[in-house]
């Protein structure tokens, strides 16, 4: 019997090694897998590369992870926010490397990794600072920039419900990067509000099929 559920977040992240690349879902706090991030903070892995749309808000979650100084590099589209003081401080002190990626390029580079593509030509960013030094090509009269896939050793995502085979459904705009990140990592770990019995999720509405998910953990605060 295949059961991808884990009893604890600590166990689910225990094998993450130094130098790992981790894709983290969420847009602001919507869809942010905070309990997985907290488990990673407790864990000792360092020299990490993190991929998220932002670079942490206030002092919890991703910001708290950055504060440990165990993140070497972050790929994101929108680091600067009114409450991104943790990242701002590290960046100004030269203690974190930033690869700024337009949001749609972040999405399609992650999609490319999940779909097994070698690279993609995207029109976004052509003629700008963010395309500097990159290969370009004119295709059918339009200019494109060559961008590389973003692959994760792990993906941390948050979903609403999941089953023991790893099938997932999401809630509202908390879906955001979850489904595409799930496909782009060797090991995708889903934090879910509720683990339901096999068959409880309508196959017509499953958003992420279990093939893309290796571990499922139920969020603590929702447990009885």
């Amino acid at each position: 019997m295949i059961d991808k559920t884990f009893q604890s977040f600590e166990a689910a992240v225990a094998d993450i090694a130094d130098g790992a690349t981790i894709l983290i879902g969420g847009f602001g706090n919507a869809g942010m897998p905070t309990e997985l991030i907290d488990a990673l903070i407790t864990h000792s892995a360092r020299d990490l590369t993190i991929v998220n749309n932002n670079a942490g808000n206030a002092d919890a979650g991703l910001a708290a992870l950055l504060k440990t100084k165990r993140v070497r590099k972050i790929l994101c589209s929108f680091p600067r926010q009114t409450d991104s003081w943790v990242f701002d401080g590290l960046y100004r002190a030269g203690e974190i490397e930033l690869e700024l990626v337009p949001q749609g390029n972040l999405a399609c580079r992650i999609e490319a990794a999940g779909a097994g593509l070698g690279a993609i030509f995207t029109p976004t960013g052509y003629g700008t600072l963010l395309a500097k030094g990159k290969e370009t090509r004119r295709i059918n009269g339009r200019d494109y920039v060559l961008e590389m896939p973003i692959h994760g050793d792990y993906a941390f995502i948050r979903a609403e419900r999941g089953d023991r085979w790893g099938n997932l459904v999401y809630r509202k705009a908390a879906r955001n990067f979850g489904p595409i990140m799930a496909r782009a990592a060797n090991c995708t770990i889903a934090q879910v509000r509720e683990i339901v019995p096999l068959g409880a999720l309508d196959p017509e509405v499953i958003v992420t099929p279990g093939i893309f998910v290796q571990r499922v953990v139920q969020a603590r605060k929702e447990r009885p």
Partner: protein, 215 residues
């Protein structure tokens, strides 16, 4: 001369958004346009983070942290709205499915180049979000901004001095003083606020203007 307030610019842009269009209103000033879209028109508002059919802000106490817009403010979903992931959301832009986006700007050039993401100052922390994808992707790119900077410098310029968001992407500019089309034959003034004259507008603009319909 009567300058348009921010709400009046927003109302003016709203007049140009036809029924049935798929529209993204950028963070900041363009968000105001949502307040001026007529309720009897079906207009589909898109949000980068995976929403079509964006509704107004919820009542106090009814906020849902899983339902926010690209500016991370709480929103609602209209009946008939839909959620989707980031891959689909940006395919809607890049794939040319979005009819209109309205963005703010630091500068727009006479050729429709847009600069709106980075001042380029050495200590500035850059952030781009979805601006570059919207600028190259939407079929029509409208800019909503003040005509000049706080220091009185033109924001419509011959060449952008700030780092570009995208080249040749802007179709129309709405300011507190005028509505201006970016065309292959230069900037064409569609309308000016009451009491504004072309020579006065030209003095506040860093690239040559002509009245629409004139060469």
């Amino acid at each position: 001369m009567k300058r348009r307030s921010r709400d009046e610019i927003a109302a003016r842009v709203a007049r140009d958004i036809p029924e049935g269009t798929y529209v993204n209103l950028g963070i900041g000033l363009p968000t105001l346009i949502g307040n001026h879209l007529p309720k009897d028109r079906d207009i589909f508002l898109h949000s980068e983070n995976g929403i079509l059919g964006l509704g107004p802000a919820p009542a106090k106490g009814a906020e849902d942290e899983d339902l926010i817009n690209a500016g991370k403010q709480p929103v609602t979903l209209l009946t008939g709205g839909a959620y989707f992931h980031h891959g689909d959301s940006f395919a809607m832009m890049r794939g040319g499915h979005l009819d209109i986006c309205v963005l703010g700007a630091f500068q727009v050039s006479a050729e429709g180049d847009l600069a709106n993401w980075h001042t380029g100052e050495p200590d500035a922390i850059p952030a781009v979000g979805g601006a570059m994808d919207l600028a190259i992707g939407a079929r029509q790119v409208f800019i909503m901004m003040e005509h000049v900077t706080k220091a009185g410098e033109p924001k419509i310029v011959a060449r952008c001095t700030y780092p570009l968001t995208a080249m040749h992407c802007v179709d129309r500019i709405y300011t507190d003083l005028a509505v201006i089309d970016v065309t292959d034959r230069g900037l064409k003034v569609v309308e000016m606020v009451d009491g504004m004259q072309l020579d006065e507008l030209q003095r506040l603009t860093g690239a040559p203007l002509a009245l629409k319909g004139e060469r």
